[in-house]
């Protein structure tokens, strides 16, 4: 009887601990996000740091994003054809590629790729700065770490991920076109006309809005995990993993939420 009792209490304690930790982490994250947004909007702005991050995120992520979206467009064309070949395949392939790429594939693929690349490197860089006291040193040199380190990164993410996704949109559609015309022998001009006809601004806009949100999620979580990392190399490694995993999960969740909001299903 006694044994069962203590077991039960231990169980309750465990639940309590998990819940408390969860709420503490959520609260900490919310405070961090609030502070981040405040510092993104108020001067001083660090132009050089922002430019560096714009290049880091926009330019250096381009190859990965280009490759993934190109192949995503290609595979969608192929899959649609095998599924729809009985019907008027030409129109269907062009439309499905267009909708799938602009609404879903380009933002999600680019988001996940950038999360792996940028989220990880931000967490590692800021985490290393934290454990080697460089962040403390910043504040003693009258520079606010949020302004100098975090705001430029988050702003660059919000601006650059949509740019990447826009390029990804174009490349994905090109991938579909290549498969359609060179492999499935569609008429090139019909395919292009079909694509143009089905092109709805809303599809593209919703995709780019998602991209901006993903850009915020990736950079904010990368910075948050780095900023709160502790305990040397292992802590930094942990922060990096957390940044990528949490950003990836949140991207998929927010992708669903935003889709519901946009298309009101």
């Amino acid at each position: 009887m006694r044994l069962r009792n203590t077991g039960f209490i231990a169980f309750i304690t465990l639940i309590g601990h998990v819940l408390l930790n969860f709420f503490r982490a959520t609260g900490e994250l919310c405070l961090f996000l609030g502070e981040t947004i405040y510092h993104c909007l108020t001067p001083p702005f660090y132009g050089k740091a922002l430019l560096r991050q714009l290049i880091e995120i926009g330019f250096y992520s381009l190859p990965v994003v280009a490759l993934t979206t190109l192949f995503a467009g290609m595979v969608i064309a192929l899959q649609t054809y095998t599924g729809f070949s009985q019907f008027s395949a030409e129109g269907a392939v062009a439309m499905v590629v267009l909708v799938a790429v602009t609404r879903e594939l380009a933002p999600v693929m680019a988001g996940l790729m950038v999360a792996g690349r940028i989220g990880a490197s931000m967490a590692a860089e800021i985490g290393t700065m934290r454990v080697t006291e460089q962040i403390d040193a910043l504040s003693t040199l009258s520079t606010n770490p949020f302004k100098y380190l975090i705001a430029p990164r988050v702003l660059a993410g919000i601006v650059m991920v949509p740019v990447l996704v826009f390029i990804g949109d174009i490349l994905g559609i090109c991938g579909g076109y290549m498969i359609g015309v060179y492999k499935l022998d569609f008429n090139a001009s019909t395919y292009l006309i079909n694509t143009w006809e089905y092109l709805k601004p809303m599809d593209v806009i919703s995709g780019l809005t998602k991209a901006a949100v993903f850009g915020f999620i990736i950079t904010a979580l990368g910075c948050y995990n780095g900023y709160h990392s502790k305990g040397g190399a292992q802590g930094v490694g942990q922060a990096t993993t957390n940044a990528v995993v949490s950003a990836s999960i949140l991207i998929l969740i927010f992708n669903y939420i935003l889709t519901e909001l946009f298309f009101n299903v």
Binding site: T128, M129, T132, E133, Q134, D136, A137, L138, S139, T140, L141, S142, T143, N144, Y148
Partner: protein, 268 residues
């Protein structure tokens, strides 16, 4: 500068710590530190490793929040100030970190000139000139300026950190073990630099050190931190005459005495 009792009482301390407490989890690090540092004075804190000397400095800088107690800078209680004012009050403090904490994405001279480059009042060429001058003061040559922190030895990093701490001519400077990892000659150069910084700039300096030779040279007063409290305080002269067994053991560097090093594993 030696202060007489009466003068001490009338003079407003630059920094006053009253009953400062700080614990990490269950571990109590500072158990009520009381300390006054007067303007233009060079105070040295000595004490065993892990007694909370660095933590004390970080509390004053606002990098750690004390659990209780009061920190006053120029008579203003830091904790009660709004955030902007607090940042302003601590912005005049230069700090040399124990591990230098150089920005590894910036070159040596950009590290030294960091604060100057950020406030945008000085041009880059001017800032570089000033950085080279500060680097020369800590015995580093021109060719070091364009290296990155990763290419420096431990002692060189320390000196770059020192140059960065004094680059803005702050009126309060904290040195966390400025001579650790330096050869004896360079240590003396640094000691002289600290003394002249305090004398020439009229700065108030708070230095942590284990190096008794350095402490004797730079200190107006010495305070000893032990088990989270200041247990002794006095001038260098008083240091040699003191009967305090803790201080005597510390300056003699003896393993025998009231300070017990925990080298035996605790009995579980």
């Amino acid at each position: 500068m030696v202060f007489f009792k009466t003068q001490e009482e009338t003079l407003l301390p630059k920094i006053r710590l009253s009953h400062l407490q700080k614990a990490f989890g269950h571990k109590k690090v500072l158990a009520g530190v009381d300390l006054d540092v007067y303007p233009g004075e060079s105070l040295v804190i000595i004490g065993g490793s892990g007694t909370g000397k660095s933590v004390t400095l970080k509390c004053i800088l606002g990098l750690l929040t004390p659990d209780s107690g009061k920190i006053e800078i120029d008579g203003q209680d830091i904790a009660t100030l709004p955030r902007k004012e607090r940042e302003k009050a601590t912005a005049h403090i230069g700090m040399l970190f124990q591990n230098a904490a150089l920005f590894d994405s910036l070159s040596v001279w950009e590290n030294v000139a960091f604060a100057l480059l950020q406030n945008k009042k000085t041009s880059r060429t001017e800032a570089k000139k000033l950085a080279l001058q500060k680097l020369a003061q800590v015995g580093l040559k021109k060719d070091v300026a364009d290296l990155y922190p990763a290419d420096l030895s431990g002692g060189m990093k320390k000196r770059v950190g020192l140059a960065r701490a004094i680059a803005t001519n702050p009126d309060i400077i904290f040195f966390d073990e400025p001579t650790t990892g330096l050869d004896p000659i360079m240590s003396d150069v640094i000691n002289d630099l600290i003394v002249s910084t305090v004398k020439n700039l009229g700065a108030t300096a708070l230095t942590i050190t284990h190096d008794m030779k350095s402490a004797r040279k730079i200190a107006d007063r010495i305070a000893m931190l032990h088990e989270g409290k200041i247990i002794w305080m006095g001038t260098v002269k008083e240091l040699d005459k003191t009967k305090n067994p803790y201080v005597k053991q510390f300056i003699a560097g003896s393993a025998e005495g009231p300070i017990k090093m925990e080298i035996k594993a605790d009995k579980a």
